[in-house]
């Protein structure tokens, strides 16, 4: 493992802006897909790109204890890492209800149907998000099969960041929020592994070395 902290320390406003730009286009694509799926207007907030001390990562979603649904899609190809799509409990319920046509409460029970609906949506959204990346950077990205967790936000964020290799004292957090009139709000986290971060910056023409 290369020293991720050394890499992150070199990132300045130019690099963070470039990453924000890619994240924005990716999430914009995903928002369009979701909007078509739900027939609802979906808005996107300006992406947040921050370098945070690692101990703050579990708190990003408003408290480590909060129950959330999260789908992690690992990516391989020219860049490696993962995309995490998270939904608060209410948003997840709302989204599943809209898709399968009946009221659900995943806090009580999350069955196969609910799980596969969530994974399917995440698959589509992550796919359109990554499409933007691969077109913009002219690279090949292969998404893996999505994995779902419905649990404490802290535990989910911790695992996503640690397992994908951002295990320095700091983490690069690229977060975009999308929100719709139907109260479906979700967040995307783009988590490149350290080598892929270098590669992305190079392709964006803002490499630091």
């Amino acid at each position: 493992m290369k020293d991720i902290d050394g890499k992150l320390a070199k990132l300045g406003p130019i690099q963070l802006d470039a990453l924000r730009e890619v994240a924005s286009i990716g999430a914009g694509n995903a928002a369009t897909s979701l909007s078509e799926m739900l027939n609802d207007k979906i808005q996107m907030k300006v992406p947040k790109v921050n370098i945070l001390p690692i101990d703050q990562v579990p708190e990003i979603m408003g408290g480590a204890d909060n129950l959330i649904a999260a789908i992690l899609v690992r990516i391989k190809g020219d860049i490696n890492g993962g995309v995490l799509f998270t939904l608060g409990n209410n948003s997840a319920n709302k989204l599943i209800s809209l898709l399968i046509g009946e009221e659900v409460n995943i806090e009580k029970n999350i069955g196969e149907l609910e799980e596969s609906a969530l994974k399917e949506v995440a698959n589509i959204l992550t796919g359109s998000n990554l499409n933007a990346f691969s077109q913009m950077l002219n690279i090949r990205i292969m998404p893996d099969v999505p994995a779902l967790a419905h649990d404490m936000a802290g535990a989910i964020l911790e695992v996503a960041f640690i397992e994908i290799g951002q295990i320095g004292d700091y983490a690069l957090v690229i977060e975009t929020e999308i929100l719709g009139n139907l109260e479906v709000n979700g967040q995307f986290f783009i988590i490149p592994d350290p080598e892929s971060l270098d590669f992305m910056l190079k392709r964006l023409g803002v490499d630091v070395d």
Binding site: D3, V145, D151, G154, A155, I167, D169
Partner: protein, 163 residues
């Protein structure tokens, strides 16, 4: 009636407390929460450990993050506030695999590696593990009540467990 004082232990951090203190760490995923407790002095400490060992190629970094260095520091901090090291007993929680990938890769099973690292180090230090709630696929919050030494494990889908 005792008024308890809640102390939060964040990821890659550790804290010690005395009789009136409750140590809490939230959202343990693949990380391991470790408590060391001296029942005769009612002094305890907690660490939220992220990874098995301090990388040999790194000169600096947060030692509280790694099992090997964090446990040493925790013991030293406990000694400083008056714990008798020979009395220490351990409890641990966490080390889960939160996401189940069909194409799972053993290299990435950090939870399991964290559990093994903590167990090995404690064995070497002859500190007995008297309670554990580890592995599986769910997140946990861990609370150590220093007045009794009880550890409560909270999850989102199951009843609380007492270690």
């Amino acid at each position: 009636m005792l008024i308890s004082n809640k102390i939060r232990v964040r990821m890659a951090d550790l804290k010690v407390g005395k009789e009136n203190d409750v140590l809490i760490t939230s959202g343990l995923g693949s990380c391991v929460g470790l408590t060391l407790y001296d029942s005769s002095n009612k002094i305890g400490g907690m660490a939220h450990i992220m990874l098995p060992e301090f990388p040999s190629n790194r000169k600096q970094g947060k030692p509280e993050k790694y099992a090997d260095t964090a446990i040493d520091i925790l013991i030293e901090e406990l000694r400083k506030v008056g714990a008798n090291i020979r009395n220490l007993e351990a409890k641990m929680a966490g080390g889960a695999q939160m996401f189940n990938f069909s194409t799972s890769n053993d290299r990435i099973r950090i939870g399991v590696r964290n559990i093994e690292a903590v167990e090995t180090i404690l064995k070497r230090k002859r500190i007995p593990i008297i309670g554990a709630e580890v592995g599986e696929n769910y997140g946990r919050t861990m609370e150590l009540y220093n007045n009794t030494g009880e550890v409560i494990i909270k999850t989102v889908k199951q009843d609380d467990r007492i270690l």
